[in-house]
């Protein structure tokens, strides 16, 4: 029963979710319902006040290092260094992730930023910034994708690219948890839907479940292993 308290307010009161590998789960909920808190807990940016969660067997509280290896967080804030060029940013990410330097070039290629690789990020448009953080995700190749409103101000090719990356991750046995308002864009990839209201999570029957394998998700504590 994962919970996180800010001061007094239980932002998450007992979220239980078990995500099987190869599954992309869509998460909807009003603003302030704790969606991004859940993501930030899963990627070890926040410590849970109560309860546990494990990502592919790695417990977020006791084994944060293993979790960080497995989890990629795609947030609305790109979080890149404006004084560095696109290539320098991604190469820095590759070094920090222990990935080969060459992976930076191919990631920029794939996200269509090869032409601006040596330009400083300061002048980039918001769409280009999103591609840059997607490139960072490509270098990382995490097994669990945590996507926070990924489709916002992303053009059509960008959305297609993002869904490709999600499918590739599911293909190699990874999973994705996508916090989203724009349900339509996520429809092609998401096969389960959940809603989060008032810090509590429940399988959301309201949204038609378009998943090819409608597996019933037991409402186990988040301590259920995502495998």
């Amino acid at each position: 029963m994962l919970a996180r308290r800010f001061g007094a307010q239980w932002v998450l009161r007992g979220v239980s979710l078990e995500l099987r590998s190869g599954v992309a789960a869509g998460l909807v909920g009003a603003n302030g319902s704790g969606k991004s808190t859940l993501l930030r807990l899963l990627c070890t940016l926040l410590r849970p006040t109560a309860g546990t969660a494990s990502v592919f067997g790695a417990d977020i509280a006791s084994e944060p290092d293993r979790v960080r290896e497995l989890v990629g967080f795609f947030s609305p804030v790109p979080g890149v260094y404006e004084d560095l060029t696109a290539m320098e940013n991604i190469r820095f990410a590759a070094t920090m992730l222990g990935r080969p330097a060459g992976s930076a070039a191919s990631a920029l290629e794939r996200t269509g930023l090869a032409s601006v690789a040596n330009e400083r990020v300061r002048g980039f448009s918001s769409g280009m910034l999103r591609r840059l953080s997607l490139a960072r995700l490509l270098v990382h190749r995490p097994r669990l994708l945590l996507l926070d409103e990924p489709y916002n101000n992303f053009d059509a090719p960008g959305t297609a690219l993002l869904n490709d990356v999600i499918r590739e991750t599911l293909a190699f046995g990874g999973s994705a948890l996508i916090v989203v308002h724009d349900v339509a864009s996520a429809m092609p990839v998401v096969n389960e839907w959940f809603s989060l209201t008032g810090g509590k999570m429940s399988p959301s029957a309201a949204i038609p479940v378009g998943s090819p394998s409608p597996s019933i998700i037991p409402a186990l504590g988040m301590s259920g292993v995502l495998h």
Partner: protein, 228 residues
């Protein structure tokens, strides 16, 4: 194996900080200018009498490095805070002390360049003749700088992320720096006159002890600081 990864990560963090600093140029020039300004002010404060200025030179030199250095410490986290890059940095796997090590390295290089300027200017302004013991003096300057940069980078990790950072960093940092500054100033003073009293050695050993204590304690504490 793990140590090599941590070193690679630390070096990458240091390189990133220094590159961002070099690109924004304004940073170093303004900090160096401040250091020189402080030296000049010391000259005015202590009056034209050469003897008085020469006696106060060690103190002036280290205080100029301190006040100018404080600006550099807060700035070193600004590169993360401006672009919201702190969270991605915290999400890379690997021990977080490599982030601290990287920032430490970058600040050490930055403050070293600052010290080169401050020392050169003070040699001129304060009519200091380079003593025969200058190698030991260089060692003391480096050891003093290690203490300054270690504590400065550590406390800036907190101050840079809270309100009124310009006030909070000096308030947290200066009292903690008293032992390091005291030892550095005394050793510098002794060595500037050729260490006739032979007490520079004692102060230098003290400086080494302080650096070790503060390096160990800040490396252990950094994980808690950066986690919040």
């Amino acid at each position: 194996m793990a140590f090599r990864d941590e070193w690679l990560r630390a070096r990458a963090v240091a390189w990133k900080d220094l590159m961002a600093e070099r690109r924004s140029k304004a940073g170093f020039n303004s900090v160096a200018a401040l250091g020189v300004t402080i030296l000049v002010l010391f000259g005015f404060a202590l009056g034209p009498d050469a003897e008085a200025i020469r006696a106060a030179a060690p103190g002036a030199l280290w205080l100029a490095a301190l006040f100018a250095g404080v600006l550099a410490f807060n700035r070193s986290y600004q590169v993360e805070l401006d672009g919201g890059a702190l969270e991605p940095l915290l999400m890379y796997p690997g021990a977080r002390r490599s982030i601290f090590a990287g920032k430490l390295l970058a600040n050490f290089v930055f403050v070293f360049l600052l010290l080169v300027i401050v020392i050169a200017v003070s040699l001129v302004l304060f009519h200091i003749t380079v003593p025969s013991t200058w190698p030991r003096l260089l060692l003391v300057v480096l050891l003093g700088e290690v203490g300054l940069v270690t504590l400065g980078t550590f406390y800036a990790a907190m101050a840079s992320r809270s309100r009124a950072r310009e006030v909070l960093l000096p308030l947290l940092l200066f009292p903690m720096l008293v032992p390091v500054l005291l030892a550095a100033m005394q050793a510098t003073k002794a060595l500037l006159v050729g260490d006739v009293m032979h007490d520079a050695g004692a102060w230098t050993n003290l400086l080494v002890a302080y650096d070790v204590i503060f390096l160990i304690s800040t490396f252990l504490a950094f994980d808690y600081v950066i986690e919040a």
